[in-house]
Symmetry: C2
Subunit: 70 residues, 2 copies
DNA sequence: TTAAAAATCACATTATACTGTGATTTTAAC
DNA sequence: GTTAAAATCACAGTATAATGTGATTTTTAA
C-alpha cells in the first residue's frame, strides 16, 4: 500500500466521519501539518503516526500475505 | 498493529522463507541495523521501510475498518 | 457577496529514523 | 569444542519526519 493510497484512505475515512484535520490531528496527537501531508501522500509517515491516526479513525493496519504466494 | 507485532510477523515470514537479515535488508535496500530493530519492535519504522520489507517478503500492508464500527 | 472555518503551503527548527562501523554474542554445522 | 555464519548491540554521524508558525487559498454556510 503506497503513501498515496494510504493518505487517500485516511482522508476518505475522515470525510466519512465528518471531522476536520484539526480534530483528527488533535485527537491523534500529531500536528495538522503532518496529517495534511500524510493525506496528500506527501509524507513518509512513521508507524507510530499511522497507528495514532488509525486508532482515532477506527481503522487498523494489518500485514497480510500477498495473493500470489512465493 | 503494534511495532512489536509487526516486527514479529516480519521475522516469522523471513524465517519461513529461510533467508537471513542480511539478505532481506539487502534486497529491501535498508540496513541490517534497521531491520534488526524493526524485527525486535525497537524501531518506529517509516512507511517506506515497511513497504520495502513487505515487498521483499511477499506481504502487504492494508488499512481496514476495525471490527466494531463507529 | 461575505465571513468564518477548513485546508493548503512555505519555511525554519527540533526530534528522531536510518546508516555505517566495529565489537560481542548466539546459533548451526562440522 | 572449533569454526563460520547469523544475529545482537552500542554509538556517532547523516538524512529526514515531525513540529510550529504564519500566510494564502479553498470551502462552507449564512
Amino acid at each position: 500500500m503506497s503513501k498515496k493510497s494510504i493518505g487517500i484512505q485516511l482522508k476518505e475515512r475522515r470525510d466519512h466521519l465528518k471531522i476536520t484535520q484539526y480534530e483528527v490531528a488533535d485527537l491523534a496527537g500529531i500536528s495538522v501539518n503532518t496529517l495534511y501531508k500524510i493525506e496528500r501522500g506527501q509524507a513518509n509517515p512513521t508507524l507510530e503516526s499511522l497507528e495514532k491516526l488509525t486508532s482515532v479513525l477506527g481503522l487498523e493496519l494489518t500485514l497480510q500475505l500477498k495473493s500470489i504466494e512465493v
